[in-house]
């Protein structure tokens, strides 16, 4: 779709100094055939770090430390896949996806979208790429311009996509129907809608540009349960219809598990576990994951009474000076000396289930023996293989 918007003319030199790579990138993205297009990785993230400097001083700001928001995170997103990212507040999940669309500049690492490095891409180079990626935010109230009618909100991205002016109205109507709103809503302002409806407008706006990847930052946590279910169903329907890939960030593990194919669990800026969605509940390998699962009450009284629920003590440590070794060792009941000293590698177990733990649980010694260091391991991780306690 976006091909119509701006077909790059190969005969025309790129304005910023004949950067052939950039032109190729734009061409590849627009034509939808990057090196890794066919069923391969849509997005690859390698050793991504985002550190926020802490400044102090009256006249001259000195950097006195860093908030380790995202600290050496690597993963790969396949086309059509939904990757869920969960974690408690302050674990870096929102910073991570904001960095992926380059709303925040990474400190180190690489982000590749369809095989093209966009880590340091200029604003101009990012423009066609951002058309392929859209974001949906947590607060539908704050993410819609209160002074614009729905019509205007949805038409702007349509025009950017290159839809002819006389076609935008029909397209906007079609989109609105698609997300479950009525066409008479087009002339209303955002304040005239409920939270769930506003979130639908946000979704329609994201779809208007015909993206391949949608990054959702807590898209349903501000909504009531019955409305939450409606929006989740809508997102799933749209994914099938438009072949979208999602990166779905939320603190609610049960919502994430419902929508995701794979789930990444983050803690203090690091990936703790990346699990196929089906395995996460029955076979959490990292103790932090079981702590999270145990903390979640289930809407079933008997289930709550019968299952084992380890209660984690205390609160997450400060991301300014994160603990050495495994970041979870200060709250972990299985922690030993090695956990306090050596950062665990991400180990790949059978079925593509990754966990960064020296003393994994729910895996047999054969499974541990058959596991190998994952290519997604942080650079600072030790080489020690995991062992049973």
């Amino acid at each position: 779709m976006s091909g119509e918007a701006r077909s790059p003319d190969p005969s025309q030199p790129a304005s910023d100094g004949g950067a052939t790579a950039e032109r190729q990138l734009a061409a590849a993205v627009v034509a939808g055939e990057g090196p890794a297009a066919n069923g391969a990785a849509l997005m690859e993230v390698e050793h991504l770090r985002v550190l926020f400097p802490l400044k102090q001083g009256i006249v001259i700001d000195r950097t006195v430390g860093h908030v380790h928001a995202v600290d050496d995170v690597s993963f790969r997103l396949q086309e059509g896949e939904t990757l869920g990212i969960v974690g408690e507040s302050g674990c870096g999940k929102t910073t991570l996806i904001r960095t992926l669309v380059r709303l925040i500049d990474p400190t180190a690492g690489t982000i590749r979208f369809r095989g093209n490095d966009i880590t340091k891409a200029s604003r101009k180079r990012l423009e066609p790429i951002r058309r392929e990626m859209q974001m949906i935010f947590q607060d539908p109230q704050a993410s819609l311009n209160p002074r614009k009618r729905v019509n205007q909100i949805i038409r702007t991205p349509l025009l950017l996509r290159g839809v002819a002016k006389d076609r935008t109205d029909a397209e906007a109507r079609a989109l609105l129907t698609k997300v479950g709103l009525q066409t008479e809503h087009l002339n209303r302002f955002p304040h005239e809608f409920s939270g769930g409806q506003r979130q639908r407008i946000g979704i329609a706006r994201a779809l208007a540009i015909d993206p391949k990847l949608i990054l959702l930052d807590e898209p349903v946590s501000a909504l009531d349960v019955s409305i939450q279910a409606q929006v989740i169903n809508l997102l799933e329907d749209l994914q099938d219809e438009f072949h979208l890939s999602y990166i779905f960030v939320a603190h609610d593990l049960s919502v994430v598990r419902h929508v995701s194919d794979r789930i990444a669990v983050m803690y203090l800026g690091k990936l703790m576990e990346v699990s196929p969605a089906e395995e996460l509940y029955d076979k959490p390998i990292h103790p932090y994951t079981s702590a999270l699962l145990g903390a979640i009450p289930i809407a079933d009284p008997a289930e709550n009474r019968s299952r084992e629920r380890p209660l984690v003590e205390g609160e997450p440590p400060s991301p300014i000076e994160p603990p050495p070794g495994c970041r979870f060792h200060t709250r972990c009941s299985r922690a030993s000396d090695i956990c306090r000293q050596v950062e665990p590698q991400l180990t790949e177990y059978a079925g593509g289930h990754l966990a960064a733990c020296h003393h994994p649980q729910n895996v047999s010694s054969e499974e541990i023996a058959g596991a190998a260091r994952s290519e997604f391991s942080p650079l600072s991780a030790g080489a020690e293989a995991p062992s049973a306690i």
């Binding site: 509940y281 702590a291 289930i298």
Partner: protein, 350 residues
């Protein structure tokens, strides 16, 4: 519930507010009771009237534009007609409340310790400041605040959300209230911290025998901690029962819809959630008859008449619901696939 007189008995509570747009009937005839040592959850979505019910018991909804009718007896005291002076004595001492947002319910410019001490001294005349300080330290230890004698001197902003909520609970406990009202106490907190706070509430109930009203939108929290549940929709109670009754034999279609809307971590990822369609009605203009009728796929002619909240299960006088459907029909209609949910009959067939 029990043969003994309940701790709190609310009868036909009605709260309406005059607004520019008309009369908002926030609470429309709510009755329930809470026994000592019992956790009663009031569940509903935004605008269902659950928080207004709780706040009215504390006398926090009084105002020139508010009309409050009905009765609410706590022991010998009639809460709704109590004077402001009487209420000041009751609040904190007999009923305490914990709010959703622990940041805005603590005064940012006073130290934590001083705020707890103020409450203790307001209700216990003649207690010295140092004795009250000691009590504050004890209370903070009891709710799991480490190094409490040091942290007494901290300001609210130096505490995390979970710790602030613990301070709120410590303050609520300071006068050993008979009834604790917790309005969404864990909504603003992370799950691991939520689990800790729920554990505190459980301990508190066991140790003090206080009755707890838990106002929440989260059915999972309800299943975890409550004994009885009241489901509210559009200002009315639509179903009331024990947690086992509500989760395993829910009678009102709205309850089915709520249960179907929840994503459950222990359940296979089904393709679609049997969600409720539409939006809750405006409280300015509620539908005739059953308030849930416009969103209910099972509604029929009789639903334009108001159903009463009565017991409909034989031999069970405690499980109440407000729906005209026959019991057997309800039990058949609520099954969607292998779970409970709300789907229109046509969809079930196809």
């Amino acid at each position: 519930m029990s043969a003994a007189a309940p701790l709190l008995q609310v009868d036909d509570l009605r709260v309406s507010f005059a607004t520019e747009d008309g009369l908002v009937r926030a609470v429309d005839g709510v009755s329930f009771s809470v026994a000592a040592g019992e956790v009663v959850a009031i569940v509903g979505e935004s605008g269902s009237g659950k928080s207004v019910t709780a706040m009215t018991l504390m006398g926090l909804t009084r105002g020139h534009n508010a009309r409050i009718e009905g009765r609410a007896r706590l022991g010998d005291t009639e809460l709704l007609s109590a004077s402001e002076h009487e209420l000041q004595r009751i609040r904190g001492a007999s009923i305490a409340m914990i709010f959703q947002d622990p940041m805005s319910s603590l005064n940012p410019v006073y130290r934590i310790g001083d705020q707890i001490v103020e409450q203790i001294r307001a209700h216990e005349r003649g207690i010295s400041k140092s004795a009250a300080m000691e009590r504050a330290v004890e209370l903070m230890e009891r709710v799991g605040i480490p190094r409490s004698s040091e942290r007494l001197r901290s300001y609210p902003h130096e505490f995390s959300g979970g710790m602030r909520q613990r301070v709120m609970i410590a303050m609520a406990l300071s006068c050993s209230p008979k009834l604790l009202i917790a309005d969404e106490p864990t909504t603003a907190l992370d799950v691991t911290i939520q689990a800790q706070i729920l554990e505190e509430l459980r301990t508190l109930r066991e140790q003090t025998g206080a009755g707890i009203i838990l106002v929440t939108h989260d059915l999972a929290v309800v299943a975890d901690i409550a004994d009885r549940v009241i489901v509210m929709y559009s200002g009315r109670v639509v179903e009331e029962g024990t947690i086992d009754e509500l989760f395993y034999d829910p009678l009102h279609p709205y309850t089915w819809g709520l249960l179907g809307s929840i994503t459950r971590i222990d359940r296979d990822r089904s393709q679609r959630l049997p969600a409720i369609s539409g939006l809750p009605p405006s409280l300015l203009n509620t539908p005739k008859g059953c308030h849930f009728r416009p969103r209910c796929p099972h509604a029929f002619g009789r639903c334009t008449d108001d159903p009463q909240l009565i017991a409909r299960v034989p031999d069970n006088a405690e499980h109440l619901d407000r729906c005209w459907l026959e019991l057997d029909r309800k039990r058949a209609l609520r099954v969607v696939g292998d779970q409970i949910g709300l789907v229109s009959p046509e969809t079930v067939v196809s």
